[in-house]
């Protein structure tokens, strides 16, 4: 998948050599297309954001308390963000599958890993926008402690979690999209794989959401998230080619 150079044309063939397009040029073209389609349709990010805010409102009233702290706050935040992310995961490849984008991509002389990278970056961008809406809403509706002091480490933890969600979400969405039960299969495959991210993310931010918050989350949880991202990043990149094949 790393072949970004022009492949040599077989000796018995005639005509001019096929020049493959560079990996990052392809990623750029795909990413631009993804963002354009989302800007035109607004199918993913507004839905994800609305879901997260609505869930916080439901928690606000269902828990019958003005605010939450510590483990409970961390758990509510991460679980809500992951369920909101599922909405984006489910939509990630729909336009490609329904409108022939897969075929068009497969006919082009490009590195197929470019699609994995572009889709992961797209989902990552969606998650960042989601969190720009959801985290302030969470602080406003539920969080009993000031968000400001917790923010730097919260951003680091969310970033590590987002990378994992984006990588796993892209892999799972690519597996599910060509099946008839894609809306069901995506979440069923993704949620178990997201569990370590919920555990690591919630444990890491839990100390940040107490009155006398500690200055930094435990390094082991950040390392756990980072390692999970790395392992799944490599697995997904290696497998993605096969998922696009017939």
């Amino acid at each position: 998948m790393s072949g970004v150079q022009a492949p040599e044309r077989p000796a018995q063939s005639t005509g001019s050599p096929v020049q493959t397009v560079g990996l990052w040029r392809t990623v750029g073209a795909l990413l631009r297309k993804e963002l354009l389609v989302e800007l035109r349709t607004l199918e993913s990010v507004p839905g994800m954001s609305l879901f997260a805010v609505t869930t916080f409102v439901v928690f606000h009233f269902a828990l019958n308390r003005g605010s939450v702290e510590g483990d409970l706050a961390a758990g509510i935040l991460w679980v809500t963000l992951l369920f909101a992310a599922i909405l984006g995961v489910n939509r990630l490849f729909v336009a490609d599958a329904d409108q022939g984008g897969f075929d068009a991509f497969l006919l082009a002389p490009v590195d197929r890993g470019a699609m994995f990278i572009a889709k992961t970056l797209t989902l990552l961008a969606f998650l960042v926008v989601l969190e720009l809406v959801a985290v302030p809403a969470f602080a406003l509706l539920l969080l009993g402690t000031p968000l400001g002091p917790a923010l730097p480490w919260l951003i680091v933890t969310l970033a590590l979690g987002d990378i994992g969600v984006a990588v796993i979400g892209t892999l799972v969405a690519a597996m599910a999209v060509r099946t008839r039960a894609r809306d069901l299969l995506g979440p069923l495959l993704a949620l178990p794989l997201f569990v370590p991210i919920v555990i690591g993310g919630a444990r890491a931010v839990s100390p940040l959401f107490v009155q006398s918050h500690v200055p930094a989350p435990a390094a082991r949880w950040l390392l756990t998230l980072g390692l999970y991202d790395l392992v799944f990043g490599l697995i997904a990149y290696a497998l993605f080619d096969f998922l696009l094949e017939d």
């Binding site: 072949g3 492949p7 044309r9 077989p10 018995q12 063939s13 005639t14 005509g15 096929v18 020049q19 493959t20 397009v21 040029r25 392809t26 750029g28 073209a29 631009r32 297309k33 354009l36 389609v37 035109r40 349709t41 336009a95 409108q99 022939g100 984008g101 075929d103 068009a104 991509f105 497969l106 006919l107 082009a108 002389p109 490009v110 094949e245 017939d246």
Partner: protein
């Protein structure tokens, strides 16, 4: 030199055999027209030749490369116009063509050239979902030939097109300069065309393939084929 060499090609969808034991050879620059009723395996044949489907048995060589092992060497040299336009409905014609141009390493000027060639310059900045099916088909033709492919795979290329539009796209999906139809490249282009119009399309063909229920029912030089034989495939 053969552009296509197919021997005993078989392809299944689950238990159903979509193509069985199809063999053919087509020289570079020639046009193969494939006839057959719906479900005969025409589209499956095109998708195998385009590297989008793997053959389940038999051997397939496209432009000198063996499929599926050397599919990477074929991509970018094939243009495909299928039932689906392979375009994003929310993007404009220009954005769609720009996207495909980037994937094929083709310059921006080619996009404008093709928009003009299919008379879509005036509607180029409107989302595809707002265009008629005929207009979308014209953009799809432009998309298929954007990278000036050596092999064109055309599945009923005139569907949704009115007579004026058919005339408009004819130079783009034509055989090449030798055939009296203009393309950018000086060489003749190899074409495989799926059709239901024996009256019109036998004249374009060098070789005719007839398929029935996934099986090869006819393979002959076009000059030796009678329209009545094609009609027989549909009975």
């Amino acid at each position: 030199m053969a552009a296509l060499e197919v021997e005993g090609l078989t392809r299944h969808y689950g238990e159903r055999e979509a193509l069985g034991d199809v063999s053919l050879s087509l020289a570079e620059g020639q046009t193969l027209v494939v006839f057959g009723p719906n479900g005969a395996g025409k589209t499956t044949l095109l998708r195998v030749l385009a590297t989008l489907l793997r053959p389940h048995a038999g051997s397939v060589r496209v432009l000198g490369s063996s499929l599926p092992e050397e599919a990477w060497a074929v991509r970018g040299r094939v243009g495909m116009l299928g039932h689906e336009p392979l375009l994003y409905r929310e993007l404009t014609a220009r954005e769609n063509l720009r996207f495909h141009a980037r994937l094929h390493g083709v310059g921006e000027e080619r996009v404008q050239e093709l928009l003009d060639a299919v008379a879509m310059g005036a509607r180029a900045n409107e989302p595809l979902r707002t265009l008629s099916r005929g207009m979308v088909q014209r953009v799809a033709v432009a998309r298929a030939v954007l990278h000036d492919p050596e092999l064109l795979l055309l599945d009923e290329p005139h569907s949704n097109l009115d007579p004026a539009a058919i005339e408009l796209v004819a130079p783009l999906i034509g055989a090449g300069s030798d055939g009296g139809e203009e393309t950018r490249s000086p060489r003749r282009r190899t074409r495989v065309i799926c059709s239901h119009d024996p009256g019109g399309d036998i004249a374009r063909a060098d070789v005719v393939l007839g398929l029935r229920a996934g099986r090869q029912a006819l393979l002959r030089a076009a000059a030796d084929v009678e329209v009545e034989e094609i009609a027989e495939l549909y009975r």
